[in-house]
């Protein structure tokens, strides 16, 4: 293990680090938006869209990100649709994450007890008012643990972007190994880099889970 080698590689890893963060950030925001739309469409039982959402969720959850990326990157150009590698990565991550987020939100909404819904109905709330004042506020807080798990999961999934040559963290490490054959050093940096992102984030998310559980809601 040579510290000099590690030091020399840090600027490159720095770039990969930034890219991993950026792609994750955009991917997660996009996933939350897609997930929210799908779960709302399912909650309000919007005809047609609801079926489309469940087909999407099934396809997305039951195919690997690797294959989804191959599709976007290699198969779509054949059909005349071409994206840059990074855009492919982001679309792939949102395609995957959207369904996980949708299931998380839906789980939260379904977790609101039937008696809560009935007591809302009993004071004359409309379907929309019931959602707005009773089901959504409680459902979102119930879905926080699933959301937190999804965020961590999606950040880790960005490592698969290496197969379409996006120079994020994993790709940077593999590139360096290919060039200089110093796998010990580079893999060490790679692990540390992911830990720097994920460990603090995981701690923050755990605190958030506790806060919504014991803060505003619940017993």
């Amino acid at each position: 293990m040579s510290w000099a080698i590690i030091q020399q590689s840090l600027p490159m890893f720095g770039k990969g680090f930034e890219l991993t963060l950026w792609l994750s950030f955009v991917g997660i925001i996009g996933s939350i938006v897609v997930g929210l739309i799908c779960s709302l469409v399912q909650y309000f039982r919007v005809p047609v869209f609801r079926q489309i959402a469940s087909v999407y969720v099934e396809i997305s959850r039951n195919t690997p990100l690797l294959i989804q990326l191959f599709f976007l990157y290699y198969a779509f150009p054949v059909l005349g649709i071409k994206f840059g590698a990074q855009l492919c990565g982001i679309i792939g991550l949102i395609f995957l994450g959207g369904s996980y987020m949708a299931e998380g939100f839906t789980g939260g909404f379904n977790g609101v007890s039937k008696s809560q819904v009935e007591s809302g109905k009993a004071i004359g709330l409309s379907r929309w008012q019931l959602a707005r004042y009773v089901v959504f506020p409680q459902g979102f807080s119930l879905s926080v643990p699933a959301m937190a798990a999804n965020v961590i999961f999606l950040i880790k999934e960005t490592s698969i972007f290496t197969v379409i040559a996006i120079p994020e963290l994993t790709n940077t490490a593999l590139d360096l190994i290919g060039m200089y054959y110093r796998s010990n050093e580079y893999l060490f940096v790679l692990v540390i880099a992911y830990a720097i992102i994920l460990v603090p984030l995981s701690i923050i998310l755990t605190l958030l889970e506790k806060r919504v559980r014991y803060g505003t809601f619940g017993n």
Binding site: S113, Q116, I123, Y133, Q138
Partner: protein, 246 residues
């Protein structure tokens, strides 16, 4: 007293093939207190829940204040402002303060003026001795307090008719009296028309003008409270009263 607030005629309910309510017929007069008694599983809760549309029914009609109810969700939604209901599990909304729980109906459903609604809510909270809890969250309340708030939440809509579904069944014994007193006050002072499902026989005896005795989804007796408790007509009602500890 002869004004009929509610009339139920030939009501039938099935869960799939299971026949849970058999040809239910009764009416409730203005200001009258009717208690539904009967063993567990006799259909009391199902029946009372049919009366504000939380359960569907397959046959029969319900007439409220002279209007035959067309049982669509939209119509029920309107009617629930006039037919209040309080549940065993009280189910205050945990994400809202006591005050916001109470104000939700008046301000969002009935679009009442916020200031006026708040004053009314404060008056109602004071009447159940919970003025100090307006800004508390439901989890900070005891069961008895939560149930009193749930009653206030229903009353804030100024219903004409109240349904109480075993509202003391999940309370600690020392909490029961306070809740029952409120219901008694409603019946005696405010002359509220109501149907009460309860297992508190002394309370039923004291508050009820009339008793409906249900067993296996059928009304077996429908008499004055006095008659029911002193001289029940059916053997099943006798057995039921004997089995109750009061």
């Amino acid at each position: 007293m002869a004004d009929k607030v509610l009339e139920v005629a030939h009501l039938e309910k099935f869960y799939g093939k299971k026949h849970v309510l058999h040809d239910i017929n009764f009416s409730v007069d203005q200001g009258e207190v009717v208690t539904l008694l009967g063993p567990s599983g006799s259909g009391k809760s199902t029946l009372i829940r049919c009366l504000n549309g939380l359960e569907t029914y397959q046959k029969g009609t319900i007439t409220f204040e002279g209007q035959k109810i067309v049982p669509t969700e939209k119509n029920w939604q309107q009617l629930r402002q006039k037919i209040g209901m309080v549940f065993q599990s009280y189910d205050l909304f945990p994400n809202l303060t006591v005050m916001d729980n109470i104000l939700l109906g008046p301000t969002k459903v009935q679009k009442q003026d916020k200031q006026a609604a708040r004053q009314e809510a404060e008056r109602l909270l004071a009447s159940v001795e919970l003025s100090d809890y307006a800004n508390a969250y439901p989890r900070e309340l005891s069961g008895g307090q939560a149930q009193r708030v749930a009653i206030v939440r229903a009353l804030a809509l100024h219903p004409d008719f109240m349904l109480f579904d075993e509202v003391t069944a999940s309370l600690d014994p020392e909490m029961v009296r306070g809740v029952l007193n409120i219901i008694e006050g409603l019946a005696d002072q405010d002359n509220m028309t109501m149907i009460v499902v309860t297992h508190e026989m002394n309370f039923a005896k004291q508050i009820a003008d009339r008793v409906l005795f249900l067993q296996d989804g059928e009304i077996l007796e429908q008499t004055s409270s006095k008659q029911f408790f002193s001289n029940p007509q059916t053997s099943r009602a006798k057995e039921f009263l004997d089995s109750m500890d009061f």
